[in-house]
């Protein structure tokens, strides 16, 4: 009896064990699949801490602007010894600010054998933490009529930067272009120049590692690096102290002085560049003179450079100011790394605004000329203006019929208010995408408000005298910054 029961019991037990294993295995497989599915698709809650950070508003520093300095020429007073640089006269410097009291001094050293150094404007920071940092402005003008230097030149006093594009100048026969490098900071600057010409990049010995001592000015002839270049573009990069760089071009056609001007910093390589205040004057006389040999560069040109490696398709629109006309648009393909001068067909006399739209970042400048009643010619270099946001200030250096040009690159019309010395000096409407100009008084400082973004420039036009400069914004380097631990 017992012998029969035993196997029976074993069989039952075995069956129970096997079914238990099957259940365990199935449950296990199911749990595994469930776990993976849950991890993959179930939105699990997260515990994420907020990283500690603090936003630092930098203590405002004294603002500095350096003017271009006196007009320079190669050689000494008597025109001898072309290895040195000497200056002619002194520029008239005017400056102003939105708050506080700016002071003017001069750089301590200069390559200029005459010893006249550029002026440095300094605006101490606002005593209290001002809601808006004060703005500093300054400009200079100088009329030259000695020897080869005849003409009228103006320039904005600008802030030091570590990267400056100078679009202008020429070093072919009769054209002298000097590069001035001013270092207003308290550390020495190591500057390298990158030179571009119509045939591409120009490599030149000594163009890098140029040391500019604190508070010093260096002057070089561009021809020393790039001789015989009709359309150069110079990029000035500095490490250490930030520098103010300008070009000064003077032209002599055989023995006839052809004018002088100072080239200021252009807008950084951008897809859109605006050159407000292109002044076309005496176009009939100019056309006549242009035909003479050596006078081709009286023609108005737009100078373009694509710093990148891809060619740019650009559209250059020349739009009359305050006008109703929609302007003329030219399409140009600009090869990369090669300076291209785009001649502008003769436009009727008047003020124009040039808008350059491109599919690659470009730098741009423009040259315009004038012929006086006595046949005296002068030219002006305009740099693509760096747009200014919300508030601008401009000081008008003395000169013939100063005109302020405002270009509204936004899609919103603006009503710009001008105040001078705390008094409302006028209101002007600037439609979206259009530009206006208005005459201003010399030696006055104007504060501009009531806009989102403007491109601003100044022009002067006299009899055989032409000059212009674009107004630059304050560098945004001192904005708030977030510091993480």
């Amino acid at each position: 009896m017992q012998a029969d029961e035993q196997p029976q019991k074993n069989r039952t037990r075995g069956a129970i064990i096997v079914s238990a294993r099957i259940v365990a295995g199935t449950v296990g497989t199911f749990v595994a699949a469930l776990a993976i599915a849950a991890a993959a698709w179930l939105p699990l809650p997260s515990h994420t801490v907020t990283p500690p950070s603090t936003t630092v508003t930098p203590v405002p520093a004294a603002q500095q602007r350096v003017c271009a300095g006196p007009l320079l020429r190669l050689g000494n007073d008597s025109g001898q010894d072309a290895t040195i640089v000497s200056s002619v006269g002194r520029p008239a410097v005017r400056y102003g600010q939105t708050a506080g009291k700016a002071a003017s001094s001069v750089l301590s050293t200069t390559d200029n054998a005459t010893g006249v150094a550029p002026e440095v404007l300094t605006l101490p920071p606002a005593a209290q933490q001002a809601t808006k940092p004060p703005l500093l402005t300054g400009s200079q003008s100088q009329t030259a009529s000695t020897g080869d230097l005849v003409g009228f030149a103006t320039a904005e006093c600008s802030e030091g930067t570590s990267d400056t594009w100078l679009v202008g100048g020429a070093t072919d026969t009769g054209r002298t272009t000097l590069v001035t490098l001013s270092n207003p900071s308290s550390v020495s600057a190591t500057v390298s120049l990158s030179l571009y010409g119509p045939s591409g990049t120009i490599s030149a010995a000594g163009s890098s590692g140029i040391v500019v001592t604190p508070g010093g000015q260096r002057v070089f002839s561009l021809a020393g690096f790039a001789p015989g270049v009709s359309s150069p573009v110079v990029r000035v990069q500095s490490r250490g102290g930030q520098v103010v760089a300008n070009l000064q071009q003077s032209t002599v056609r055989t023995l006839e002085p052809g004018g002088v001007d100072i080239v200021g910093a252009a807008n950084k390589p951008s897809l859109t560049n605006v050159i407000p205040g292109l002044v076309v004057s005496s176009s009939a006389a100019l056309s006549a003179r242009e035909a003479e040999p050596g006078y081709q560069d009286l023609r108005s040109v737009i100078r373009l450079l694509v710093p990148g490696t891809k060619q740019a398709h650009t559209e250059i629109s020349v739009i009359p100011e305050s006008g109703t006309g929609s302007g003329t648009t030219v399409s140009v393909v600009v090869e990369a790394g090669v300076v291209t001068d785009v001649p502008l067909d003769s436009f009727p006399d008047g003020n124009y605004s040039v808008v350059i739209a491109s599919d690659q970042p470009v730098v741009a400048g423009a040259r315009v000329s004038t012929v006086g009643t006595t046949g005296q010619t002068d030219f002006a270099w305009l740099a693509a203006a760096t747009p200014i946001d919300k508030q601008a200030i401009v000081t008008v250096a003395p000169g013939p019929s100063p005109v302020l040009h405002l270009d509204n690159p936004t899609r919103k019309p603006a009503t710009v208010t001008l105040t001078s010395g705390g008094v409302l000096a006028g209101t002007v409407a600037v439609p979206a995408g259009r530009s206006v100009s208005l005459p201003v008084s010399g030696s006055a400082t104007y504060t501009l408000g009531g806009f989102d973004r403007l491109a601003v420039s100044m022009s002067y036009l006299g009899d055989g005298q032409l000059s212009a400069f674009s107004v630059s914004p304050s560098a945004p380097a001192s904005g708030r910054i977030t510091i993480y631990r």
Binding site: I17, A24, A32, V49, V59, P214, A477, I481, I483, Y484
Partner: protein, 943 residues
């Protein structure tokens, strides 16, 4: 002179024995002249029985000890008339043989110098076995019974003069009793009679044993009035009595030394108890020492009493002490008896795989060669960098100064608790004491063979087939989580992977062995320190193990204690800061973890790149998206085997393994959702590799069980799993050659210029700035040659607020990165910053150009130029000041207390972990197949 005997029978709740005792008393051939019965607070009807026996007097006393009860009885009897009056002391369990009193009296009557006579105490249940026959003390004063538990064959009947006799059945001259003041109240039970006898000896009397007088006895004096006394309590009473006697007997001059030695001796003896695996006795050592030292157990009174009655010197009793040689011999015999008793139970060793005979050694050697090939490039380096790693401190002393509570030299620095990981690093660095950082290099090169070694021994514990440990060793050494963590430089995860098999091994044995429990506790602490994220899963395993082994709970319960001691200061600080989850943060240099997903984690991948297969496929011009499929196919054998194990015989052992795998997977998934470590302005999740190691452990354990049960089919399946896993690991093994490794040799954190400067100015600070791609700048401060790995603190890396110094640093940094009028000179000097380094990361970010430009134009700094570590500027005017000594780990009372507490916990655990009982331990391990997990999850019978 006719002797007069007063029998004093003391009873306390002794009904079970009293009847036999009373009848024995009644049948005496020489009846005592009077009987005084004392009821010492009985809770049963002992009192009635005593009354029924018709004593001369029945004294009711409260619950006092035997000596005090006798003293009560002596008070009530009439004062002694002659010197021939005797007291016969009996407890309720001392049933005298009929001739007992007659024999005792015969012995004392022929020798007037004898004042105390003791009977031969026989066992209550075994009347022919001697319970005790005379007592003595050793050279050092420990009491010892002369004869104990021997069959009475009259072999000891030649003895008469002894040092002491037991209380039960003692016949004592009444005048002596009165003169000596009875038993010492400081000795409640054990040694009371011995002490009394010694005092009688010193008073010039003799103490004899009388072989013919037999009195039954249930147990020692400590059992008086109790059903049972735990061993621990008995040991404590005996120790207490010994200390009391020592203080009483010592010469006056030696007393202070004895007193001062009490606590140090207690510490030493406690250590000895731990080594002897008697952790229960540790507490007793201290309580007895403390009560002897401060308890006021009437030592002064006892010493006066002794002095008053002493007639002869100690030298006179010296011959009666037990000679040291004999004492040693007695102890040896005792130990052997204990050992044979304990090993008798588990004496059937099962055939486990041998390390050398079954390929374990060869596996480890082959894996070692693979490890050297894979990671040997690091051997030339002084340290390993990348991921969570960087150099260790230069000396062992510095390493150990960075543990505990003190100054943490990370960032601007703060005072706080170190990571438990710092202790582990200090231990590691101490191994290569001549160059601590080299220990990390060695660890990297040896990681794979070490993993194989641990896995081999752990697998041997759970399987019976000799080749399965070899497979487990290989699979654990090429485990994707291990190689992934190594390649990505997650040192804590690597160490945890190496420790896990040993933790399993020790944890499984911990239920039977104190040494294994202590080992498990240390391994648990080390694992927790290297990978805090594993702690919840490990604690769950621990709880489950305790529930399944309730009888061993006393050994298992303390396993997390050392880890708790390590973590306690950090836990307090993090909880006070309000973020307990930050405790799970991975220790080491904060490092960003790549994006991962649940599916990737299920493929055992913690990082990115599908175990390196994506880049391999890309290099072969194959679509990288196929890598996930490839990895899934290669992982399938292990996964399928693990699941299969649930269906085959022995599946009950696979279930816990699969639960461990699930816990590991959950740890990995949850870890990726806990972002507590802050790095460069964003929070990063916890590295999933540690959880995946546990996942892999569970899978392997289950797969081993499955293969164990599959019989002959296990060979091809095991081979398949091994081959696919090795294939899977190939890209990760070649990571140093493919250039995909984040780790690299080399230890310089800062540029050489800074390192050179730091030689003479070790406190010089370097502000390291990193531009962030979405704007802003991260600023960290490094001191000297850079923050070392042992300096790192999760308290710093998980901080969500900025300290005052952090704010100063941020304000200064913000201004240094701007054209600013801020005069940073005072901040730089105060924070002792000599260099500013702009990291080469994110050179395209706006903040990079801004910072570089601002620093270039700052007159305070001189540009040093571009270095491997980024652009460097030097602050020239840094005054060379001697750094104020930071708060060391022993610089505060709290810091010292923490270190001391941790040292005590670890010292005790280490002592307990020293394997002493060699024979026992061996049988315990080899017997594991019977009693280990295999026994827990009994094998299903083959059906």
């Amino acid at each position: 002179m006719q002797a007069r005997v007063t029998a004093i029978l003391v009873a306390r709740s002794g009904v079970a024995y009293l009847e036999r005792t009373l009848s024995g008393l009644a049948r005496q051939t020489r009846q005592p002249d009077s009987v005084i019965a004392v009821d010492a607070g009985s809770t049963d009807n002992s009192s009635d029985l005593l009354a029924a026996s018709g004593p001369l007097q029945l004294v009711s006393a409260p619950a006092v000890n035997f000596g005090a009860a006798v003293a009560r009885a002596v008070q009530v009897i009439a004062p002694p008339a002659t010197d021939g009056e005797w007291l016969w002391l009996l407890a309720h369990d001392n049933a005298p043989a009929p001739t007992a009193l007659e024999q005792l009296l015969a012995a004392v009557e022929i020798a007037p110098s004898v004042a105390i006579a003791g009977p031969k105490l026989m066992r209550w249940e075994q009347p022919d076995v001697i319970a005790e026959f005379g007592e003595t003390i050793t050279q050092f004063g420990a009491s010892i019974a002369l004869v104990e538990g021997e069959l009475d064959q009259a072999q000891h009947d030649v003895q008469d003069d002894v040092l002491g006799v037991a209380a039960g059945g003692m016949l004592v001259r009444r005048s002596l009793w009165t003169a000596l003041g009875g038993f010492d109240p400081g000795l409640p039970s054990i040694d009371a009679a011995l002490d009394f006898s010694i005092r009688a000896r010193l008073a010039g009397y003799r103490v004899v044993v009388v072989p013919g007088a037999k009195v039954a006895s249930v147990g020692g004096p400590e059992l008086f009035g109790r059903r049972s006394v735990p061993d621990r309590r008995r040991v404590r009473i005996a120790r207490s009595a010994q200390l009391h006697r020592r203080l009483v007997y010592s010469p006056g001059g030696a007393l202070p030394f004895h007193w001062l030695s009490l606590l140090p001796l207690a510490v030493l003896r406690a250590a000895g108890q731990l080594v002897a695996k008697r952790p229960g006795a540790v507490g007793g050592e201290f309580t007895t020492a403390l009560s002897a030292a401060f308890g006021g157990s009437g030592i002064g009174q006892a010493r006066r009493n002794l002095r008053a009655n002493r007639q002869v010197g100690w030298a006179s009793i010296a011959p009666l002490r037990m000679p040291p040689a004999e004492a040693r011999e007695r102890r040896r015999q005792f130990r052997e008896q204990a050992n044979s008793a304990s090993t008798g139970a588990a004496s059937a060793p099962a055939a486990a795989a041998g390390f050398v005979t079954h390929g374990g050694l060869w596996t480890v050697l082959v894996v070692a060669v693979i490890g050297v090939i894979a990671w040997g490039q690091l051997l030339g380096a002084t340290s390993v960098a990348g991921g969570t790693m960087t150099s260790l401190s230069a000396t062992v002393g510095e390493l150990w100064s960075h543990v505990g509570y003190g100054w943490r030299e990370v960032g601007v620095g703060f005072v706080g608790a170190s990571d438990p990981f710092a202790y582990l690093l200090a231990v590691l660095g101490s191994i290569t004491f001549w160059a601590p950082s080299f220990s990390i290099v060695l660890l990297y090169v040896l990681a794979m063979p070490l993993a194989a070694l641990g896995a081999w021994f752990a697998a041997r514990h759970v399987t019976t087939r000799p080749m399965l440990p070899v497979l487990a060793a290989i699979l654990w050494a090429v485990a994707p989580p291990l190689l992934g963590s190594m390649s990505a430089g997650h040192l804590g995860a690597v160490i945890a992977h190496l420790l896990l098999p040993w933790l399993v091994l020790a944890g499984l044995s911990a239920s039977r062995s104190w040494a294994a429990a202590a080992g498990a506790a240390l391994l648990f602490a080390a694992t927790a320190a290297s990978a805090p994220v594993l702690v919840p899963a490990l604690l769950l395993c621990w709880l489950a193990w305790m529930v399944s082994r309730p009888k061993s709970i006393h050994r298992l319960i303390a396993i997390p204690f050392p880890a708790l001691a390590l973590f306690a200061p950090l836990v307090v600080q993090q909880v006070l800061r309000g973020d307990p989850l930050a405790l799970l943060a991975e220790p080491g240099v904060p490092t960003a973890a790549g994006q991962t997903s649940g599916l990737r984690l299920a493929l055992a991948e913690a990082g990115t790149g599908m175990h390196g297969w994506t880049s391999v496929l890309n290099n072969l011009s194959l679509p990288g998206t196929g890598s996930a499929v490839l990895v899934a196919v290669l992982l399938a054998p292990v996964g399928v085997l693990a699941i299969l194990a649930l269906f085959v015989p022995g599946s009950r052992r696979a279930i816990p393994s699969m639960v461990i795998a699930l816990l590991g997977f959950a740890t990995a998934v949850i870890g990726t959702h806990i972002q507590v470590t802050v790095l460069d302005g964003s929070s990063t999740p916890i590295w999933a590799g540690t959880g995946l190691s546990l996942f892999w452990l569970g899978l392997l354990g289950s797969a081993m069980v499955g293969l164990d049960a599959l019989g002959r089919a296990s060979v091809p399946l095991g081979l398949l799993a091994g081959v696919t896993s090795i294939l899977l690991a190939l890209p990760l093994l070649g990571t140093m050659y493919l250039g995909t490794a984040i780790v690299q040799g080399g230890g310089r954190i800062l540029p050489a210029v800074v390192t050179a400067q730091a030689e003479g100015h070790p406190n010089i600070g370097t502000l390291v700035l990193t531009a962030q791609p979405r704007g802003g700048l991260s600023a960290t401060l490094e001191r000297g040659t850079g923050t070392t790995l042992d300096d790192q603190s999760t308290l710093a890396s998980t901080a969500t607020t900025l300290s005052a110094d952090d704010r100063t640093l941020a304000r200064m940094t913000g201004n240094l990165a701007s054209h600013s009028g801020y005069d940073a000179a005072s901040d730089l000097s105060r924070l002792s910053i000599g260099f500013v380094l702009l990291s080469p990361a994110n050179t395209g970010a706006a903040a990079y150009a801004r910072t570089s430009e601002a620093l270039d134009s700052n007159a305070l700094f001189t540009p040093v130029g571009a270095t491997d570590n980024g652009l460097l500027w030097r602050y020239q005017n840094l005054p060379k000041t001697d750094a104020a000594a930071p708060v060391g780990n022993t610089g505060t009372p709290l810091g010292t207390a923490i270190l001391l507490g941790q040292a005590i916990v670890f010292g005790l655990t280490l002592l307990l972990g020293i394997p002493t009982a060699r024979r026992r331990r061996r049988t315990a391990v080899s017997g594991s197949v019977l009693d280990g997990p295999a026994g827990t999850f009994d094998e299903d019978d083959h059906d």
